[in-house]
Amino acid sequence: MAHAMTVPESGHAPRPRKAPMPPVLRAFLWAAIGFLLLNTFVIAVDPFRGHPFVTGPSVVFGWVGAAIGWLLGIGLYDAVLLPLMGFPTRWQERQQGWRRYWEFATDHKVIGLQYMMFAVGGFLIAGGIAMLMRYELMTPYLTIFHYPSNYLTAVGIHGTLMMFSFATVFMIGGLGNYFVPLMIGARETVLSKLSGIGVWLVPVGILTVLFSPLLGEWSTGWRGYEPLAGQDANGILFYYLGVLALTMSSLIVALNLVATVMFRRAPGLTWGRLPLFVWGQVTVNLLMLIWFPEIQTTFVMALLDKVVPLNFFTATGSPLTYLMLFWLFGHPEVYIIAVPAFAIWNEIIPVMAQKSLFGRQWAVIGLVFVMMLSGLVWAHHMFTNLRNSEILPFSFFTEMISIPTGFAYMSAIGTLWKSKVRLNTPMLWILMSMFNFLIGGLTGVFLADPIVNLQLHDTFWVVGHFHYTIIGSMVFSGFGAIYYWLPKLSGRTFNETWGKTLAIITFLAFNLTFSQFFLLGLHGMNRWVPAYPAYLQPMNFEVSIFAFILGAAFLGNILYIGYCWRNGAQAGENPWGAKTPEWFTSSPAPRYNFPVQPEIVGSLYLYGEGTKVPVVTTALGELAATSRATQDPQFDWHDYAPDGGGVTS
């Protein structure tokens, strides 16, 4: 299989018989069949007759059947299983047109865009739900949500989709898949078929979580705390299953990207020269490889607790164990979201300033230490229920983690100091991201102090804090990155006036909304409440107004980017004068990224007098151990040239 996927399509034969229906449609059909098969089977063998057609246990198996059917239908069958077993297959990868984004693909750029597309979908859905929540919170009593559990389900879906289908997906599955191979001068990823399948677990996860209310309300929010989860209706099953699908997808991304960075770096791209963005990705990928299996195991246990039922996490078991297991993953998760953003800052700043990156090694050390420390601080989410003797150690590591986090600021500040930076749209988003994350981080110092935490925990202070860290880092940097790479992604560019205006509106709306969360929290507003004491209404009302503006601003940005993608002015090949390898090929890059294997001959972050162009694209023969040539005796680079390969659809 490994060989099959590294050899490019011979491709000269015309596309054989057309597939009978679009893969997505077939996937839906096969998913329905899979669901019916397994669900019916479970009902048939159910010893307690007289149940409805869909029960808790049956829906779990049915869901597994549906997920498998979905993946088989989307391409696992045609493109992976048949060739793997040596059967002829009709499948041929589409090379052009919008349809390839709605099919199984092996091109990491297509897969990256698929991830971005689904992540933005998740963001819009979860964002729409946030608008409903804010509408509800305009009054101290129930309005659009008729029962508190409806509201709590909305909070849970909002949080779960934002975290698992957007925050961990957009930057890593999306930007990571698209840019890591380009930035290390690779022609493709190592596990490209697996990766092409994995992305299709994202819509599975999103739809599962979104439609969880079909099985009943669940009231736990995104953390699924036990033993409450055990009391909830079966909707909570779709929370477990949806998250399983989403984390599985991200796990595949992590595996693929780490392997690609290890084995497919261009000649000359030593670890010491690795682009900052790639370092960010590698560190969080390692975090994902460590902690995602852990949370998946926990969710399987919780699921069994519910459907069997067992008593792992009830009063007769140990509720605190669930909390521990959740946050053991949960804290690294927040750094999985934030670290790529730190990396983006120091990726974009030197380019916009055309000035050498200051303290590059510190920026990298910061990322690596944040990654390592992030596994030692989980119980700071549990100060209100931890043993006294455990409070101080966790507080210690929590406070210490702000040191390596600060290194990202140190490098950025050192680089910008006495520079002449172009204050364009991407740069503006980055500066805003630095401001917002500063507030997120400093409010976190208050939370890290246990005596203060005992007051602020589970209030809107925390909600403000984590929205500042998540939106402040990942969303603002994400917009910065998209504006920065838009010329690469689409070959087109945007209008500075529009870009900046939208950025400023978003920034103001964001800060006006979430800064007041801190005050609400201090004033006694607790979380997970659709109804609250009336004295909190005036501020909540006003916060909601700003939140609606913020929602509109996000939407405006997304629409504007979409507009520029198709209709923007033509961009130059390397409009910002960057030195990283992704800019040393055409925009968008051809199928196998570079017409010839590029070689890296210098630092990617040095600018000014006497520095050279670090990427040369003439090093044909002399390929390093990381390249294809040493593994494939028939290697001929012409096979990989966009026209030489001759693959057309």
């Binding site: 559990s149 210490m400 102090d449 004033h523 007098e609």
Partner: protein
């Protein structure tokens, strides 16, 4: 050189202004309303962090603004390329790394450890004198208060709401449990709640199957009618009744408390 000086001066000026702002905030109590010794500890810690972090905040924000004003090219212009750039500056790195380590060690010693030591000391035998013990039972979705020293099993307001009443300046020991005394076949089928009185500045989770203690002393006569932060509020999501899992609270004088106990007894004995 010039920029360094300008920046340093501005940093000092804005930090001083920030500190003045902090004084104003502290005067008005950033935690709005705090009436317990425990809450006082939290408030002091909060204020300390606020004061020390202000120059840090000012440094970074000033830097970002400074960058936008002083370190930018004109629109559409490329940055000049004919320069050599520092990629290292030992002094700056030393001050930054050393400074952030020092700051965080400081925070760990004070207020983190110092305040926690004071809090932990409250359950040491010397302080834990059992002046008043209140058993707090959390069930979905209700707080039940009983006073074993006075033989009161469930204290209520005249219209039947659960009521927590405490004498001022008397150390209280709360015994926190989550179970359902009315659930006839499975008393332990309950979930995690969190016992929070915003005005006391502390919350402790109440966990099924475990017993937790919380010690504090209310420091002012007050009630829910005086300030709505004087209420018992569940702070951990516990199902659909969570938003309404709250109880009024009154802190009263010793005499009023004695009278109230009598009245509650009379009520209980019917």
């Amino acid at each position: 050189m010039g920029e360094n000086v300008v920046f340093a001066v501005l940093w000092v000026v804005f930090s001083v202004l920030g500190e003045i702002g902090d004084r104003v905030i502290i005067r008005h109590n950033p935690m709005y309303y705090i009436v317990s010794n425990q809450g006082q500890l939290a408030l002091q810690a909060f204020n300390f962090l606020l004061v020390v972090l202000t120059p840090v905040f000012v440094f970074v924000v000033l830097f970002l603004v400074f960058t936008m004003v002083r370190f930018t090219t004109k629109r559409g212009e490329m940055p000049p390329a004919n320069k050599r750039f520092a990629i290292d500056n030992k002094a700056f790195v030393l001050v930054w790394v050393g400074g952030s380590i020092a700051l965080n060690l400081l925070f760990f010693l004070h207020p983190t450890t110092s305040a926690m030591e004071q809090m932990f000391a409250l359950d040491q035998p010397a302080a834990n004198t059992h002046d008043l013990v209140v058993d707090v039972t959390a069930r979905q979705w209700q707080w039940i208060f009983s006073y074993p020293q006075y033989g009161l099993t469930q204290t209520l307001t005249p219209n039947g709401q659960n009521l927590l009443e405490l004498p001022v300046n008397v150390p209280v020991k709360f015994v926190l449990r989550s179970y359902d005394p009315y659930h006839t076949y499975d008393q332990y089928a309950d979930v995690i709640h969190s016992f929070w009185v915003p005005a006391f500045g502390i919350k402790e989770d109440v966990i099924p199957g475990e017993t937790r203690y919380e010690y504090l002393t209310p420091t002012a006569i007050t009630s829910y009618a005086v300030n709505p932060m004087v209420r018992v509020q569940c702070a951990e999501v516990c199902g659909p009744g969570h938003p309404w899992m709250e109880s009024p609270l009154a802190v009263v004088s010793d005499q009023q408390f004695a009278q109230w106990v009598k009245a509650q007894k009379a009520l209980a004995n019917g």
